[in-house]
């Protein structure tokens, strides 16, 4: 009896301690941009200029935060999302980010888009110890917690995706003669590097031609003709949607049927494959980490149902086929998760700390098996991709979700 009583007291005491320490934890802490009622988030997007197609990401995120606010906000706080246009110009990006930080006084900058723009603001934000969270670019350099502890990526890096294709080719088609068509910018060069690193010392013998194109070119027909003439039997298309679709169509027109790999950026059924023609796209390979809203196989998926309902209610003008909406939804959902984890400690340091403590988080729009994991030394939230092959009118996933992590 005595023992039981003692135990009870002990238990009570622990509970009290737990409560009070919990209370101490729950003490509200804020940095600029956060308060009892509001969390102010900054963002820059190319709403105008050459990359304006991606502006949809910003609009989706804005709509998602509207939904969160309508549902009561995060721990009672409403999100204020301030998003400015940088026109995909680095000097403008610097100006707009400084405006966000110094004039709008946001808590952090979320999902700014484009490698050049992010490179331009990285030093400034890290100098001011302001999180540059979940940047919308696939460059590898965002995973560098040692030198840039305030910058974190989100999507799988282009290089790691390139490595996944290399792994696949080494295993399934070791004698491949690869012809690469790549966009002459950071995006194209990163993929190429990933492929080459993945192929290792076989890169020189396997890659027969590296052909680059500029986004200002109206048509890439000349490059395709050259690639065909090179004798390649594997075509690695590191292209943005318009050029990927042109390539798919041109290949069919000139009756060239190599093993065709299209990078994830241009694997959208709605905005690439369908315009290029399903009949021209059979057997194309790619890798994915998110579900495709235009792909019928996800019609009954609970996550995608939530996504579709969200679009219908909060962003009805959106084109569901545009993969940028899926992207914006996933990124915004990840951020909301991080902010929930922050609780009442909305300091910049805690935002970074919580962002670096995501464990097996899965936004509604990610493929089954792809999970977000981060740690103090791992600032690359999504690292897995799954290979897929186009058949009929949809992608067929095969193999397992592979990590392309760069050691």
């Amino acid at each position: 009896m005595q023992v039981v009583q003692q135990l009870r007291i002990a238990a009570l005491a622990t509970a009290v301690i737990a409560l009070t320490s919990g209370g101490a934890l729950a003490q509200k802490k804020y940095d600029t941009g956060a308060s009892d009622t509001e969390i102010k988030i900054g963002n820059i997007m190319p709403y105008s200029g050459p990359a304006s197609a991606y502006g949809v990401i910003g609009k989706t995120e804005e709509a998602y935060f509207k939904k969160i606010n309508a549902e009561g906000g995060i721990n009672g706080r409403k999100i204020t999302f301030v998003s400015y246009d940088d026109a995909y110009s680095p000097p403008k990006a610097v100006e707009q980010v400084r405006k966000l930080v110094e004039s709008d006084e946001v808590l952090f900058v979320f999902n700014p888009l484009g490698t050049p723009s992010n490179s331009a603001i990285q030093k400034y934000l890290n100098g001011k110890k302001i999180p540059q969270l979940f940047v919308a670019t696939g460059a590898t350099k965002w995973n560098d917690p040692k030198n840039f502890p305030w910058t974190m990526g989100w999507q799988p890096s282009y290089q790691s995706e390139g490595r996944i294709y290399a792994k696949y080719l080494l295993k399934d088609k070791p004698g491949a003669k690869i012809g690469v068509l790549f966009q002459n910018d950071d995006f194209g060069k990163d993929y190429l590097k990933g492929l080459k690193d993945g192929l290792g010392d076989k890169a020189a013998s396997m890659i027969v031609l590296e052909e680059s194109y500029e986004t200002s070119e109206p048509s890439i027909d000349g490059h395709i003709v050259k690639l065909k003439a090179s004798g390649a039997d594997t075509f690695f298309s590191v292209t943005t949607p318009k050029f990927a679709a042109q390539a798919i169509k041109k290949l069919a027109e000139i009756d060239w049927h190599p093993l065709h790999i299209v990078v994830n950026v241009s694997a959208s059924v709605g905005s690439v494959i369908k315009p290029a023609g399903f009949e021209n796209s059979q057997g194309i390979l790619s890798a994915a980490y998110a579900k495709d809203a235009a792909d019928a196989q996800w019609a009954n998926d609970p996550g995608m149902k939530k996504f579709t309902e969200f679009l219908a209610q909060y962003y009805p003008d959106a084109n569901k086929l545009d993969s940028s909406t899926v992207y914006g939804y996933g990124a915004a959902q990840t951020l909301v998760k991080v902010l929930q984890m922050c609780g009442d400690d909305l300091t910049r340091a805690n935002v970074m700390k919580q962002a670096a403590s995501l464990k097996d988080f899965t936004p509604d729009t990610l493929l089954p098996g792809v999970k977000i994991n981060t740690s103090a030394t791992d600032f690359a939230p999504i690292e897995q991709l799954q290979m897929q092959r186009f058949k009929g009118e949809k992608w067929e996933l095969f193999g397992e979700a592979i990590s392309g992590a760069i050691e």
Binding site: P50, E217, G222, K226, Q246
Partner: protein, 292 residues
């Protein structure tokens, strides 16, 4: 050698795009005596209109004709509303006006039809043409229509009263007015025709490059280059210029070692500039003698 022929053929196929656009450029140059930076966007917008009409169920050729009429009227309306008030303004101010128009149309199309690419049908099909896998029936049809337009324009400017009046109004406005030409309406007519030709170019180009608000950005640069190379006053020169630019660009990309591929546009432009330095009015342009 096979690669060479292939690249030349591919160059001709791409050149047809440039030639088509260059014709529209020449048209507006004949009418207003300078280049319209918004021309590509106007063509893009017309193409979207025809696409929208087809989405609503109209057959291709009906949509084609309606779009042509719409573009003609639209071109005239733009001139009357936006550029007629600027007639007395300095030329550079008018150029700023073109840039403003470019910005308005591009942004508006982006909001209305968003930036994802759209498939655009072709009336010619896209099977290989005459057994050559390098030129599709669509591209052959495009070259055919370009040549047809060229012939039509040639006769229009050379033999019809309106065509001659238009040339006179652009080249020597004062004298034109003295012989009773309504120069103001000639300019509006020129805008209308340029917009209509531009819409044909857009509808022919869209099946190749896919329809989206930024589709004409690159095309217009090449169209200007082709028109300037051929001589801005000659429809024939413009078309030939288009094919030459297409072929040369491909050959430079293929045969100039190291930098050829990355630098094919700059190299093509440098070549055009060298041609201009030797023949300042382009290959087929008329020399203009300045009166002091």
């Amino acid at each position: 050698m096979e690669l060479f022929t292939n690249q030349v053929l591919a160059g001709i196929a791409t050149g047809a795009i440039y030639a088509c656009m260059a014709l529209a450029v020449v048209m507006i140059y004949q009418a207003i005596d300078h280049l319209n930076f918004a021309q590509g966007e106007m063509a893009m917008f017309s193409t979207f209109i025809s696409w929208q009409l087809m989405q609503w169920g109209l057959p291709y050729w009906v949509a084609f004709v309606v779009t042509l009429a719409f573009s003609f009227a639209g071109g005239i309306a733009i001139e009357r509303v936006l550029f007629k008030p600027l007639t007395k303004a300095p030329i550079l101010t008018q150029v700023a006006g073109f840039i403003a128009l470019y910005s308005i149309i591009n942004s508006f199309a982006g909001l209305t039809w968003d930036f994802t690419i759209k498939q655009y049908p072709t009336p010619f099909g896209s099977s290989p043409f005459l057994g050559s896998q390098l030129i599709s029936t669509h591209q052959a049809g495009m070259i055919g229509i370009t040549l047809l337009l060229l012939t039509g324009l040639y006769f229009f400017f050379q033999y019809t009263r309106v065509g001659l009046a238009m040339r006179a109004a652009a080249a020597v406005p004062e004298s034109a007015r003295l012989v009773g030409i309504n120069t103001s309406w000639m300019i509006a007519l020129g805008w209308g025709m340029a917009a209509a030709i531009g819409s044909i170019a857009g509808m022919l180009i869209a099946p190749v490059v896919f329809l989206e608000p930024n589709m004409m950005g690159g095309v217009l640069i090449y169209g200007f280059a082709a028109a300037v190379l051929g001589g801005l006053t000659s429809p024939f020169g413009a078309v030939l210029g288009g094919f030459l630019v297409g072929i040369f660009e491909n050959l430079a990309g293929t045969y100039i070692p190291h930098v050829g591929n990355e630098m094919k546009l700059p190299i093509a432009l440098a070549l055009i500039i060298s041609v201009l330095v030797i023949k300042p009015a382009g290959l087929f342009g008329r020399n203009i003698v300045k009166r002091v």
